[in-house]
């Protein structure tokens, strides 16, 4: 049985990135990955760097650094300023991002929260790169 569909919207400050009816979405929520299906309980959470995976008949993957997520009445709303489609990212900028993040994480001034986010950023980016 195929799961029932619900709406997902990704909105950036510069406009709508994506709006479609999908089967399942996996988001990198701050406290762990979270899979969302139709009729999920209403929830508000925010994101750490990672991949948003949207499963429809095909699969679409976005990389995000942060964002806010609200699920209510079968609409998943993702507000983020950093969503990038995975297949539109090139290796050169990826490597640069990894280096920047690795440099930042060694900085002693940053707090634990930032360190946590950055470690995920590095991990995800490295995974993409492979």
């Amino acid at each position: 049985m195929t799961p029932e569909k619900f709406t997902v919207e990704i909105i950036a400050p510069t406009g709508l990135v994506l709006k479609s009816n999908v089967n399942e979405v996996v988001i990198p929520s701050y406290e762990g990955e979270m899979g969302i299906l139709k009729n999920h309980i209403a929830i508000i959470t925010f994101l750490r760097p990672g991949l948003i995976k949207i499963y429809n008949d095909s699969e679409e993957i976005f990389f995000v650094e942060d964002g806010t997520v609200e699920f209510a009445e079968n609409t998943l709303l993702i507000l983020t300023s950093t969503a990038k489609k995975l297949n539109e990212m090139d290796k050169i900028s990826l490597n640069k991002h990894i280096k920047d993040a690795e440099k930042k994480i060694l900085d002693e001034k940053i707090n634990d929260k930032e360190k946590y986010s950055l470690s995920y950023k590095i991990e995800t980016l490295k995974n993409i790169n492979e």
Partner: protein, 291 residues
């Protein structure tokens, strides 16, 4: 009475001015379309974010422990005013309308015996405000070299505001910008962003019970700084569209006025040319008669 030559020169100069204003109008019209599109595209983001914050605030049990960005520092002694204007002139009353609104607010703040701090964004606002309120300006930003303002610029300003707030530099923060209503109407606005002014937009009470992960306060702490940048960005977008709209209207008027002026000058020119011809004829005729 100016000579024929003078009139000719003036007509020529007005005509070339007209060409410039016409070109500026066309450029503004083209830019306006894009800016307007951006402003409209950007609206859902800020609206949705406001909505989420509203939902969050509703479910906070203990308002006293809510993040300071939301409820403010509990005082209203020091006001921070962020005035967003354009970097370029020649756009009608655009810049002065914002400054006028801002100045009236400054006056109120000072008369009430409160402290005032100003951040200006955009060169024109700085020029207009520094004359009277120069000593209150603590920082000025300008993104003149940027072709299009992106979210990053808004974040720079947002972060500046937040770090000032965390250093207890001010209690209340207000944004001044022009709200783009349509091409001819732009409404200067003062929007309070700290403490967040959250109005429940629709009266229908949705009693959705949300689950929060992590806790409400933690989400709010993460979300509120973003909201500030978002509001600044929204103001930027609205301002950009308003600037182009305002410039387009101003340049349209200027082109029309130049046309009127050319018509008037041409009539003058023809009249004095005719006068000089008549004069010469009279001279010839009276010369012939006296023979």
């Amino acid at each position: 009475m100016p000579s024929l030559d003078d009139l000719k020169k003036r007509i020529k100069s007005v005509k070339s001015t007209q060409k410039i204003t016409k070109a500026m109008k066309m450029v503004a019209a083209a830019k306006l379309r894009k800016a307007q599109e951006n402003a409209e595209k950007g609206r859902p983001y800020s609206q949705r974010m406001q909505n989420i914050i509203l939902n969050l605030t509703k479910s906070i049990n203990d308002p006293r422990n809510a993040p300071k960005l939301l409820i403010g520092s509990g005082k209203d002694q020091t006001h921070l005013c962020v005035v967003l204007t354009a970097d370029r002139g020649l756009c009608g009353g655009f810049n002065s309308n914002i400054c006028k609104l801002a100045k009236s607010k400054f006056k109120k703040i000072i008369n009430a015996g409160k402290n005032l701090k100003i951040i200006t964004v955009g060169l024109k606002g700085f020029d207009q405000i520094k004359r009277e309120y120069g000593k209150f300006i603590i920082k000025k930003f300008s993104f003149k070299e940027k072709k299009q303002i992106s979210y990053q610029e808004a974040e720079i300003i947002g972060k500046e505001i937040i770090s000032l707030f965390n250093q207890n530099e001010f209690d209340i923060c207000t944004l001044f910008y022009n709200n783009f209503k349509n091409v001819i109407t732009q409404i200067p606005q003062a929007q309070q962003i700290i403490p967040a002014e959250i109005k429940s937009s629709d009266s229908k009470e949705e009693n959705l019970y949300y689950e929060f992960e992590p806790e409400e306060d933690e989400i709010l702490e993460n979300l509120l700084p973003k909201n500030i940048s978002t509001q600044v960005f929204k103001a930027f977008l609205e301002n950009a569209a308003s600037e182009q709209g305002s410039r387009m209207t101003a340049m349209d008027n200027a082109t029309r006025n130049a046309g009127d002026l050319v018509d008037k000058l041409t009539i003058n020119y023809n009249r004095s040319r005719q006068a000089s011809i008549t004069k010469e004829l009279i001279e010839i005729i009276s010369g012939a008669e006296s023979l």
